[in-house]
């Protein structure tokens, strides 16, 4: 599904990603953990195509296509979905209208006709229930005045609606209390399937109690320094990232 090879990227001349290799097969959930500033969110931004990142080396193949050649909107239309760490507010644009526009843009890209109003509403209702999203938020302006938890839940709801091949969750757990965290995680778990992959970026192991990954990767200073099964997350939680720093330094010597 997603193959990242030797990916280097910089922001304002400063190298942030220093050679990432990662393979996420179809249907798998991979977690990326790492200390602050290790490049976790940068990786998400580069994959989604944020303009201020420059890729200097390497390649990213998504479903057989060169992802880095595509505009951000085409990446989205191909099936890359980024659940933002800080979802933006857009006053005056209803959540529903926004989603309808997005869905129909993606459908048009695939050569499908726009959804009829009735079908769209049916789909909305279905997904809303699936991920336990508050119907009252549907007609409100996109994220405007939403609480932190509501914004994150809206991201998961959008993910359910747009049905991407790859969902990237960028620190979706940050700022969530335990109840909201559980709801968000349940939503993601319901969306897991054999043909959908996830890249879950998190600072804390807590989220991974609910969204159990197939693999855990540890990002440190722009590189993946360790990969392991889900238990690796527990080990990190217990020993902290300092333990890792020592290992990395040790290996480098």
């Amino acid at each position: 599904m997603l193959t990242i090879k030797n990916l280097h990227a910089e922001v304002e001349g400063k190298e942030i990603l220093k050679g990432i290799d990662l393979e996420i097969p179809r249907g798998e959930v991979h977690a990326i953990m790492g200390p602050n500033g290790s490049g976790k969110s940068s990786l998400a931004s580069v994959l989604a195509g944020r303009e201020n990142y420059t890729v200097t080396q390497g390649e990213v193949i998504f479903d057989g296509k060169d992802l880095l050649e595509m505009s951000p909107e085409d990446r989205a239309r191909e099936g890359v979905f980024l659940a933002f760490q800080y979802p933006v507010e857009i006053p005056g644009v209803s959540n529903l209208h926004f989603l309808k526009t997005a869905l129909n843009e993606i459908r048009a890209y695939k050569g499908l006709p726009a959804l009829e109003a009735k079908e769209f509403l049916k789909l909305t209702k279905e997904k809303q229930q699936l991920v336990d999203f508050n119907a009252n938020l549907m007609n409100r302006s996109l994220n405007e005045g939403f609480s932190g938890g509501e914004k994150k839940r809206n991201e998961i709801f959008q993910l359910a609606m747009l049905d991407p091949k790859l969902g990237i969750l960028d620190e979706t757990d940050s700022g969530l209390d335990i109840d909201a965290l559980r709801i968000v995680a349940n939503g993601v778990n319901k969306l897991r399937s054999a043909d959908k992959s996830f890249l879950v970026i998190t600072h804390y192991q807590r989220l991974l109690d609910y969204i159990v990954p197939d693999f855990v990767h540890v990002l440190y200073d722009g590189r993946i320094v360790k990969t392991g099964p889900k238990e690796l997350a527990l080990e990190l939680e217990e020993k902290g990232y300092d333990w890792l720093k020592e290992t990395v330094v040790h290996e480098n010597v």
Binding site: A48, V88, P91, G92
Partner: protein, 481 residues
């Protein structure tokens, strides 16, 4: 990968959609402004003596007046003697029905999306089409006539309803109100006249479509709307002009009179030619619009979507004279490239319990400059007057400007006057967020801007709200960078 700036530059070069010209034989007065010009116009229109006198008074006032100096932009030199004050398509013969209108003119309006053939017209909308100085056709006149609604060109009103015209002409905007109003009084050519009789709710949207076509002319139309007791009317005006290198002056006057319990809703979708990217050409849109809520519990509501013109300079206002009267002003003004807008409103609270509401949304892009200027005035008799003003500015890019000049003068302690203002910028974050959901940059900007302007667009009659949304999107295409 192309970045969004490049895409934007591509679209920015898109041309003004309505910039074509119509090739038609015209009657054009020689350039210049003097008493003879005014007599010429008056004679062309076969006007009664009293109207000529009124025009001449306007001209005397104009001659004594100076150009204002308080506006927030550099007023360009205007050569009043270099303009022709009358341009009309040559009449082949006396017109008695639409079938006799020059096909070239019908085709022009059709191309502008304003079919004058009643079968093709939007149902529920009656149109008066004004081409340069004259009205070429008014649709659904007979149907409206059955209910006693008068909807005709100003020239016809002078001929057929002189008493009404005489009574109300200049009663809201006097001939000496300001220099452009005085000029208009002297040389006004045509425009629309509306009278809604007592107790009648006008069954159709009334609308006037203004088209400037001739070169080196100005357009000086005059609109007068009178809503008698307990009547209601919704009126809409639209405007376009060809692309020309030199600036053209549009100095119109609109007067609204609402009697007891009457309501007038006046909407404008202004898309005059804005000039090119370097600011060359375009219309100077210097217009005086004022309504009076003369009767008790009367209501006047102005809604404007201003996307065109090189300079837009106007303050649609309401004099709230009757007790319990209400005035509203909803505005979206867009400036991009080198466009300038200095617009807003004045609410004069005179009667008791009068209310006013002002919602202004300025959008500046490119090197556009957008100024909101508003006056809320509460007189000593206006007990319990209330005003709410919200004034928002949206900036796109970092070379544009937004300014706000709210004036409040209250002489009554029981009045409540509220003012809220915000300034925001379309952020790259917002655009990227929408991109990441599969929406391209162009659509993303349209979505954000329409969301921002929604409160105002919602005020437009339904038939036009969609058009206005599209217009906003087109106007701002390629403005983010």
């Amino acid at each position: 990968m192309r970045n969004s700036n490049e895409i934007i530059d591509d679209i920015a070069n898109k041309e003004y959609e309505f910039g074509f010209t119509t090739d038609i034989e015209m009657d054009i007065a020689p350039a210049g402004l003097n008493e003879d010009t005014i007599r010429f116009i008056s004679a062309k229109k076969e006007e009664p003596e009293w109207l000529l006198e009124w025009r001449l008074k306007g001209y005397q006032a104009f001659k004594k007046m100076q150009m204002p100096g308080w506006q927030h932009f550099k007023l360009p030199e205007i050569d009043f003697q270099g303009v022709s004050y009358y341009a009309a398509p040559k009449k082949k013969k006396q017109l008695s029905s639409l079938d006799e209108v020059d096909p070239e003119l019908l085709a022009t309006f059709e191309k502008l999306g304003i079919p004058l053939n009643e079968q093709k017209a939007l149902s529920g909308v009656a149109v008066d089409a004004v081409f340069d100085s004259v009205s070429v056709a008014t649709t659904f006149k007979e149907k409206l006539g059955e209910m006693g609604v008068i909807f005709c060109s100003f020239g016809e009103a002078v001929k057929h309803h002189p008493d009404l015209v005489k009574k109300y002409l200049g009663s809201v905007v006097p001939h000496s109100d300001n220099i452009f109003a005085a000029l208009n009084a002297a040389v006004f050519s045509d425009g629309s006249f509306v009278y809604i009789p007592k107790g009648v709710r006008c069954p159709m949207e009334l609308s006037t479509y203004f088209r400037i076509n001739a070169q080196n002319t100005g357009q000086f139309e005059r609109t007068l709307i009178i809503a008698d007791d307990e009547s209601y009317v919704s009126y809409l005006e639209g405007c376009t002009a060809p692309m020309r290198d030199e600036n053209q002056l549009h100095a119109a006057v609109v007067e609204l009179v609402a009697l007891d319990h009457a309501e007038i809703k006046y909407s404008t979708v202004q898309n005059w030619y804005p000039g090119d990217k370097e600011g060359k050409g375009g219309i100077y849109n210097f217009v005086t619009k004022r309504g009076i809520c003369k009767g008790k519990s009367s209501k006047i509501s102005w809604t404007q979507v201003e996307t065109g013109s090189s300079i837009t300079w106007k303050y649609p206002s309401v004099i709230l004279q009757g007790d319990d009267a209400q005035g509203e002003f909803y505005s979206v003004a867009v400036t991009r490239n080198r466009q300038i807008a200095d617009t807003g409103t004045k609410m004069h609270h005179i009667g008791r319990n009068t209310k006013s509401r002002i919602i202004s949304k300025g959008i500046s892009a490119g090197e556009g400059d957008n100024t909101y200027r508003g006056l809320v005035q509460v007189g000593p008799r206006a007990h319990n007057a209330r005003n709410f003003t919200q004034c928002d500015s949206l900036l796109i890019g970092n070379r544009c400007g937004a300014h706000t000049f709210p004036y409040i003068e209250s002489r009554n302690k029981s009045a409540t006057v509220e003012h809220e203002a915000t300034t925001s910028k379309i952020g790259e974050d917002q655009i990227f967020y929408l991109n990441q959901r599969g929406i391209d940059t162009e659509k993303a900007v349209a979505l954000i801007v329409n969301g921002y302007a929604k409160e105002v667009l919602n005020q437009l009659p339904m038939e036009f709200a969609v058009e206005a949304q599209k217009l906003l999107s087109i106007t701002l295409e390629g403005s983010v960078g």
